[in-house]
């Protein structure tokens, strides 16, 4: 075997797929020329990415929200209004309404694709709950746990910090709807709700009932606008004749009916449909929890939501979102189908024996997603029991004051009352039959 000739020119470096010279495609590019692909695939490849509406507040990125007049960071929401007030110089100013700021109330008919506001984008997989800020006043590190708070105070110089930067961990929504119902009002509503339900309430609940312990919580929701078409198909029946036949003492009613194959189609838009964007709150299984109580106090006047500003959350607790748009798409489709079925009901009134829908379909032409914090006063009571018991809520809508609750029941009392009434009715019936015979 002859040795290679070292004097000859070096061989060309290998090229082709997998070689060091095979340059990876630029981020976002497609390795094949889309023009060579079949039409449906090409359309999908060339379709624009979901559009994001940038709702981030650049001016608040350092975490400090300063009074425009005196520069103080001691800022709170003025109770009962959408105003922010400086606690130092009493200057007041309005939050910017997202509806006008980002044009969220318009163009429903022209919606196409999935439009996601920047605060509703996917939560980063490595998102940490703890965020640290370096205080520009004194240099101290201030940490905020975004699981339940959005503001904190510098323990040295008393600057107030808020989590205003959206991209950091996906915890920050696009908008916030400030509380209007004050705590005293919420307490009164909860007390009124429970006062109507004292007789059969669990004794421990009544003993420990202290509505003053209610807390104001901002809960995470996705507010969705959508444009959709729904088709449904099934059968409907119209009564044509009704008659009675007697068989001995027994009378039986019979019906004749025409059966129709019914198909319906409806195009519609929805404005501001709220979806729970936390896994826990979105679980509405009433056998396992009482989240349906919080769901019941929807809707909110989301048109009045203001651009995200952590100062509105000062003094309130908050819960973090953990569901992304993709997770919530099935829920949106489900609710759009229900809305369409309600719309279609009016068109099948002639079927006096009812309609049985067998098939349905929804096509979502476009949707626009905005992440929002909504204000809820929550009073909770942990009822002990099997499997950790049950957490009962009494919730007050922080804007409209609508109140709904779950009061734990003293089972033996309720059973006793039902049996007593049943026995009384039975006694009355027996007496009546005895007299009649």
């Amino acid at each position: 075997m002859s040795r290679p000739d070292n004097s000859s020119a070096p061989e060309a470096a290998p090229t082709g797929p997998g070689s060091p010279r095979d340059v990876p495609p630029a981020p976002g590019s497609f390795p094949i020329d889309p023009e060579t692909l079949p039409d449906p695939i090409r359309d999908e490849v060339l379709a624009p990415d979901p559009i994001a509406i940038n709702t981030s507040a650049e001016e608040l990125k350092d975490g400090l929200n300063r009074c425009p007049k005196c520069g103080s960071t001691e800022i709170r929401q003025k109770p009962g209004s959408d105003l922010l007030v400086c606690l130092y110089c009493r200057n007041e100013w309005h939050g910017q309404r997202v509806e006008e700021e980002f044009g969220l109330g318009t163009g429903l008919d022209d919606l196409e694709g999935t439009i996601i506001a920047s605060g509703a984008q996917n939560i980063a997989a490595d998102a940490a709950s703890l965020m640290s800020f370096k205080c520009t006043g004194c240099g101290a590190e201030v940490t905020i746990n975004t699981d339940n708070a959005m503001t904190a105070r510098c323990h040295w110089c008393r600057h107030v910090f808020g989590v205003n930067e959206q991209v950091a961990n996906g915890a920050v929504p696009d908008a916030v709807l400030p509380f209007h119902i004050k705590k005293d009002d919420a307490v009164a509503r909860i007390r009124q709700f429970v006062d109507k339900r004292r007789m059969f309430a669990l004794k421990e609940f009544k003993d420990e009932f202290t509505p003053e312990n209610v807390i104001g919580v901002y809960l995470p929701y996705m507010i969705v606008d959508g444009k959709a078409s729904v088709d449904v198909a099934g059968q409907g029946e119209i009564e044509t004749r009704r008659y009675t036949r007697q068989n001995g003492k027994q009378k039986t009613t019979y019906y004749d009916a025409d059966v129709y194959q019914v198909e319906r189609h409806v195009d519609f838009t929805v404005d501001d449909l709220p979806l729970e964007s936390s896994t826990e709150r979105g679980n509405l299984d009433t056998a396992a929890n009482t989240n349906n109580i919080i769901n019941t106090i929807l809707p909110f006047d989301t048109k009045n939501a203001v651009k995200w500003n952590a100062s509105f959350l000062s003094g309130f607790s908050s819960e973090k979102r953990d569901r992304d748009v993709d997770h919530l798409h099935p829920r949106l489709e489900d609710q759009l189908l229900s809305i369409a079925r309600a719309q279609i009901e009016k068109s099948v009134g002639r079927y006096d024996r009812g309609v049985r829908w067998d098939e349905e379909d929804v096509q979502v032409h476009g949707s626009r997603w905005v992440s929002m914090y909504l204000p809820v006063w929550l009073y909770s009571y942990q009822q002990p029991g099997r499997n950790g018991g049950m957490l009962h809520y009494i919730a007050v809508n922080g804007r409209t004051g609508e109140t709904m609750g779950s009061v734990p029941v003293q089972q033996w009392k309720l059973l006793l009352a039902a049996l007593t009434v049943g026995t009384f009715i039975e006694g009355f019936v027996i007496t009546f039959l005895a007299f009649a015979s």
Binding site: L108, R197, A201, V232, G236, E237, K249, T252, T253, Y255, D256, A257, D258, V259, V262, E263, R264, H265, D267, F268, V270, D271, P274, L284, T290, P299, L337, S338, I339, R341, Q343, E345, Y351, R353, G354, V355, R356, W357, D358, E359, E360, D361, Q363, S406, V407, P408, V409, L414, L415, A417, A418, V421, G422, T423, I425, E426, V429, F432, L433, A436
Partner: protein, 87 residues
């Protein structure tokens, strides 16, 4: 329907007890409540279109409503059709 001996009246006692228990439990726990998004969301719908074809006649049924009536059960999902390609 009617029974001349009137013994069916005896069922009123247990029915009354069960009904009261159920009603009070619901009043306290509100397990049946939820946001009525079908009616409380702002919806702009175009006129509903569709077709109706008579396919059958029923004679002498004792059922007062169509079997499986779900016209008002908006949230009860039925078989999902995969949409025909609009193109």
């Amino acid at each position: 329907m009617s029974d001349d001996s009137g013994l069916w009246l005896l069922s009123l006692g247990p029915a009354g007890a069960a009904g009261l228990y159920w009603a009070l439990y619901r009043f306290y726990r509100n397990t049946d409540k939820s946001h009525a998004f079908e009616h409380e969301t702002a919806v702009e719908a175009k006129p509903v279109t569709g077709s109706d074809h008579k396919i059958n006649e029923i004679k002498g049924t004792q059922q007062t409503r169509i079997n499986g009536d779900n016209v008002r059960a908006y949230r009860k999902r039925v078989r999902r059709l995969r949409r025909r390609d609009p193109g």
